[in-house]
Symmetry: C2
Subunit: 426 residues, 2 copies
């Protein structure tokens, strides 16, 4: 852990810089995969499976009976845990359903905003080292609540029973394909995988590169994603053993995980590091965690106020506020994905089951992007209705502005209506 | 106008296809501009101005006094019109401010969603053939209402007094630079133009290409934009002279404007075309309108229901429902940017002054994207707070799921807290 004992605002940029990950040639390779899927459809997907996974699936779609059958291999306790998580996530995401807006801006002029589900959405569920069944919940629950008509999920081949079981709990079609080619298939469509209008879900560098390249062509995506991040702000009410555990829970994600501790004293930093040193020995993924911790950062801030400033500058994906009056401090947070208050709110609660979404903007993107919300699966449509009287009142404004923009036909559309109103127009 | 007298769903794709605009070499040129701005900052901007506009501005920022002074060259009637438009747009966009959400998902577990303004936003105000002062209102009003701290606007050199005056009405910095280089400057920052977190506003093919390329790098943008579109659904209550005027108001935007009439009888189509033929002669921009009308489409649908299906398939930017019980019909609209109901709601009302936003998704992007709303200038941050009792109740779910995902440190962050609670932890 790199320790910074004092920091001034002019140094924020340099010290809080995230490591740039450059994977040589990745962009070109991903661009070639997208091109192949676009031109070759299913046949290209099969070729890619042969090249990358070494085997070609008989069919990409996992039949529903296979998903359901997987449930018999899943432990009852895990099933209960998943049920509990679903309940909490559903409760919070249900409350997020956007309300329609309707106002009369002037007498006779009514403007409204209605929310409609995005009809076809694609969910990417990563495989890799750990089967992320929680990602199924974090994407499928809001998609279902929003009312999306066609939900499809792609996950790499070899999904374990726990993941298949979790997928079986939602009304959607599931395809056994991963990586950049899965994103390309959901964005562009193939014979067997439907084209969707928006693609959600985290993934590795290949998946992210594919999402971003397709976003450059207009594909709607949930957010740009990168290595996971945690910032912990700790004052003297923080418990070093708790926050050490939190830092490690972030570090075990991968060697590129970003871990930052901002404490109000060197004592807290030292005690936390000691604790982390003890706890890391017991972790099965200690080698991964060690690599991440080696690149991590501890900053001694002047006070909680400066710590919050640092956090707003950094815009962390996850932010734990282990400070006095954490709720009040949270009122000053301007940029973050998800915030965890107090001593009994570990980040892992939000990863699984508190009810909040764990798909969050990383890499400083929290400055402009939100984590997944229910409205991310919807779009707003504005509707306006004007009466003849309303149009008469508004006409001067429209005519003046159309005149200034030299758009005479725009003015004419109003003049036609107010100059010669047929008696029987409704 | 191409007339289709009968259409079946299998033909929607072919008949409703939008023309693909391919500008040879545009992508490469734009990519080179972005690269130059990224590497050269202001100096690169100056060189680009010299190459493209033939002259280099002394400074990019337009001093506030110059904006304010422009007001003395603006007609009082236009000023009143702008005031009226501002009032209506403000009323509607104020009502859109998202409400925070807060629920207890389980006893002791509180999850909330707060909305914070995006701190730094960039607005692109196109110049070109017509000075789009309305675009200033459509972007600056929601940005101000959202509470964005730093708002900057870029507009091509040579802005007329009307545009400068409109810009002077908002608290923001204005820069005299246009095209792809303006987008690159707002996304990447230069010595004189601040880097922003999200870029809004319409533009020509160069501007759009720059927005999309930078979106591929994670820049948040309002939406992909392309040539403007209008679909009109008309039954026998529609007035041909009104909808002809609407079609022409769309057509005058540019030769690539998309105009589609879907009527329930050939009589309506014929009467509308006759009217359009008469009205077009009186338009100053008739040559532009004529080109757009030549490529436009009229479809005779079996009934209003099929017309709505066609519209949902096409996902038009603007949709006029000139039908009986238009409000009821609007309830079936799944994909559209903005909808105009009845005989007295011309599209030009929404372009300027009804209160709705005129920056809307084109090219079928309305299937997944919204037009500009106030919340487009904000992001959602989730906050959770768990009590010790709450964590005890939730622990089994977290531990089970962390176990299934083989993330032991995630479990440990919970175990640390529930196994040995120091007496005095708050």
């Amino acid at each position: 852990m790199k320790i910074v004992s004092k920091i001034i605002p002019a140094e924020y940029e340099r010290i809080l810089q995230r490591p740039k990950e450059v994977q040589e040639g990745l962009e070109q390779k991903v661009s070639r995969i997208i091109e192949r899927v676009e031109q070759g459809g299913d046949e290209a997907l099969r070729e890619l499976c042969r090249e990358i996974d070494g085997r070609v699936p008989q069919q990409f779609e996992i039949p529903p009976y296979q998903l359901v059958l997987a449930g018999s291999d899943v432990d009852g306790h895990l099933k209960s845990a998943i049920s509990q998580a679903i309940e909490n996530i559903r409760t919070f995401h249900q409350a997020q359903l956007p309300m329609p807006v309707s106002v009369e801006t002037m007498p006779g002029i009514r403007c409204s905003l209605h929310y409609e589900p995005i009809e076809k959405v694609g969910l990417y569920i990563p495989g890799g080292t750990a089967p992320l069944l929680s990602t199924v919940l974090m994407t499928a629950i809001p998609a279902s609540l929003a009312g999306c008509r066609e939900i499809i999920a792609c996950t790499p081949p070899g999904a374990p029973p726990e993941l298949l079981y979790t997928l079986s709990l939602f009304k959607m079609r599931v395809f056994s394909i991963g990586g950049a080619q899965a994103i390309a298939a959901m964005a562009l469509g193939t014979e067997s995988i439907p084209k969707t209008d928006k693609v959600f879900g985290p993934g590795n560098a290949w998946v992210t590169a594919a999402k971003m390249q397709l976003a450059g062509r207009g594909l709607a995506i949930d957010m740009p994603a990168g290595p996971s991040e945690l910032m912990v702000i700790a004052d003297d009410t923080a418990i070093p053993s708790y926050i050490a555990a939190d830092l490690l829970s972030q570090a075990e994600h991968g060697p590129d995980s970003q871990v930052v501790l901002v404490a109000t004293s060197m004592d807290i930093i030292r005690a936390t590091m000691d604790e982390a040193g003890r706890q890391i020995e017991k972790l099965p993924r200690r080698e991964v965690a060690r690599q991440a911790m080696r690149q991590s950062l501890a900053i001694c801030a002047d006070n909680v106020q400066q710590a919050l400033d640092i956090s707003n500058y950094y815009a962390p994906e996850h932010l734990i506020l282990s400070v006095r009056e954490a709720r009040k401090a949270a009122g000053q947070i301007r940029n973050a994905g998800s915030v965890f208050l107090g001593n009994f709110t570990p980040e892992s609660a939000g990863d699984y089951a508190s009810g909040t979404n764990h798909t969050l903007p990383t890499g400083g993107f929290a400055r402009a992007w939100s984590g997944i919300t229910t409205s991310a699966f919807m779009k707003a449509i504005s509707i306006q209705e004007i009466t003849r009287e309303g149009l008469l009142k508004l006409a001067p404004a429209i005519l003046q502005m159309a005149g200034a923009e030299q758009l005479d036909a725009h003015a004419s559309a109003v003049l036609q209506r107010i100059q010669k109103p047929p008696e029987d127009v409704i």
